[in-house]
Symmetry: C2
């Protein structure tokens, strides 16, 4: 039973709050009922607050990747020129989807661990006519956040639509969908929104609706125009995951009751404490402070520290799951998820466990030093 | 939401494992059904392993205090001479119940924070004829464990029956009901057994059954002979808490799957780490190492440390609930429960929060020092 308690600190799925779990065991209702329509209407209103948008928003029964494909399938036609800004594994995935839909993709790649360089984007936009620009707000694979507001200002001057993956940041970071001029913003349920996987939330701007009029890719399940048509009566195009809709309301209620600024500040504080602790232990962070994600922190391994051995000890001896690296960072970093239903003491616990595991894999650390650094950040607020 | 996460570290009720919660939402069944009888039979068999008894054992729908009254009501008649061994608030409660049933109670009181002195008990037993001896195995109010084996050997030489309150230790500490010659052993569901409150478990020796034959106190709901009669068909005398019976099976399965020696070792290790941390922070423990409870640790306040202010900061700012003092220790100590569904990282988290709260109430501590001391104990195993 020592291992019965599990501490899931990966960048999604994340722990589910009891209030959300309780909501999800409510008796099933028909998805064409009046009760469901009322729930749907309330959900859209609440989700728009988190997206900071007054434009259209859809709750789709699919994963975040399904949300990314929805964005692509609705606006990109075969042969379209697309600019993909790649800062890691999920940026690569977004570009891959566009290529699968026949787009001619210009992939502007940045070193993993660094953010998008808007200068380079500006140059690209000046010399090319793009149908769409694809960007990742919070690159889960590296713990780097990109400046979507700056990017939006550049793209808005062009005919291109801006499609943004905010799967691992929405609900944990300050995302101004409308102010940032994002045309399609995509998130998933299983990250900072504190739900199990299974829903994608997608907002759509007027510019995106216009792009859809001429888009030629086949789309049925992913069709946003169909979704809009059904939404007029608070219906969904296809059968929705009723259980997750229940849970989404409980989760959004928690977020709005805490207050968006407070939620964002909590995530920022957890990040600051985690980074202080990692530095105090003599380990190296992948991302620079200025671009550090507030939902996931990536830490580098080194010649003395095998990240996979470390993760195994944490998982088997302490029940703590950190994520490993992905793609070209596989085996080179470990990642600590601190998003959604997480607070100060989760960081204390995680760092406390990390210190013990570091000793167990033979990496020299001063016990308590990381915890003390995190505590100091929390006490300073 | 920062306060949404709650860390309940009081000496009961304790956190409920997910497997137990899940068992408790199974559909209701009739308590006179064959399914319930089979569940009951399995439960008795499993509970006896935890009690380390081959004698009769009953699962009664009442709290631990109801269990203590059951013990008294079944063997003590008005005018009976009873020796009550009092080491704290729960020892006082046991004596009070006996007085209410008309017993002439000799209360042998020991300083709060110390254990029963068997020498004094031996002298008392040598010069008096007692009907019963009442003792507390684990004194929740002080975090002290009494030597019930030593006591049992003394009482067994007399005609007295030994009634023992093991409410806060059963399932967390090595309790040898038969080897220790305890006649009625009582525990509750909401401590180391990892259930919500609502059940008392009571074991009964042959000597206790014999004492019941001549006991004259009125008893109906608490009647153990009635319970035994119904138990012959795996029935209960009165309506049982079916939900908690479901949960009890899941909890006992967890305990037996981990293994009793492993469960006891885990509790002992959590105690050792907690005590090392408290000492590293310059605070004083109430109980001596030799008699320290393995399920709850009591820590003294002092002129610089108001324990109630400290507990308030922990509760409101970190969601951590420690218990305060009771009776004559009210306002003088705080108590950390570490029983049942608790592991190493609960201790790390609790000490990490305690350190921050100590700073916030102005008590000088070196951040991380307590955590490091606990980590050291855990790493040494």
């Amino acid at each position: 039973m020592l291992q019965d308690k599990k501490y899931l600190m990966i960048p999604g799925p994340t722990p589910i709050p009891p209030a959300v779990q309780q909501a999800m065991i409510r008796p099933m209702i028909g998805h064409r009922s009046g009760d469901f329509a009322k729930l749907h209407e309330r959900l859209i209103k609440k989700a728009k607050q988190v997206f900071q948008t007054e434009k259209d928003l859809f709750i789709l029964t699919q994963s975040g990747t399904g949300g990314l494909e929805t964005a692509v399938a609705n606006v990109i036609s075969p042969g379209d020129k697309v600019l993909a800004l790649v800062t890691g594994n999920f940026g690569e995935r977004f570009a891959k989807i566009a290529r699968l839909y026949g787009a001619e993709v210009d992939a502007l790649e940045f070193p993993w661990g660094e953010a998008i360089d808007l200068k380079q984007v500006e140059e690209k936009l000046a010399t090319n006519q793009y149908r769409a620009v694809l960007a990742t707000h919070n690159e889960t694979s590296t713990g780097v956040t990109n400046d979507i507001g700056g990017l939006g200002a550049l793209v808005a001057k062009t005919d291109a639509v801006l499609l943004v993956d905010a799967v691992s940041s929405m609900g944990g970071m300050d995302i101004r969908t409308d102010e940032w001029q994002v045309d399609i913003m995509v998130t998933g349920s299983q990250k900072a929104l504190m739900l199990p996987p299974g829903l994608a939330l997608v907002s759509v701007s007027e510019k995106a609706w216009q792009a859809m009029e001429t888009a030629k890719a086949p789309r049925f399940y992913f069709c946003l125009k169909q979704a809009r048509k059904n939404m007029a009566e608070w219906n969904t195009a296809w059968t929705p995951n009723v259980t997750l809709f229940y849970g989404l309301e409980a989760a959004l209620d928690m977020i709005l009751a805490e207050g968006l600024p407070e939620v964002f500040a909590r995530h920022a504080l957890m990040t600051k404490a985690t980074r202080a602790a990692i530095r105090a232990l003599g380990l190296e962070l992948l991302a620079a402070d200025e671009v550090a994600s507030h939902t996931v922190t990536a830490v580098k391994g080194n010649d003395q520290l095998n990240t996979e051995d470390l993760r195994k000890v944490l998982r088997t001896k302490y029940g703590v799951t950190f994520a490993g690296g992905q793609g070209k960072l596989k085996g080179k970093i470990f990642r600590i998820g601190h998003m959604g239903y997480a607070d100060k003491l989760d960081i204390i616990l995680a760092i406390g466990a990390l210190e013990m595991a570091l000793v167990e894999v033979g990496y020299p650390v001063q016990l308590g030093a990381g915890v003390a650094a995190a505590q100091k950040v929390f006490l300073e607020g």
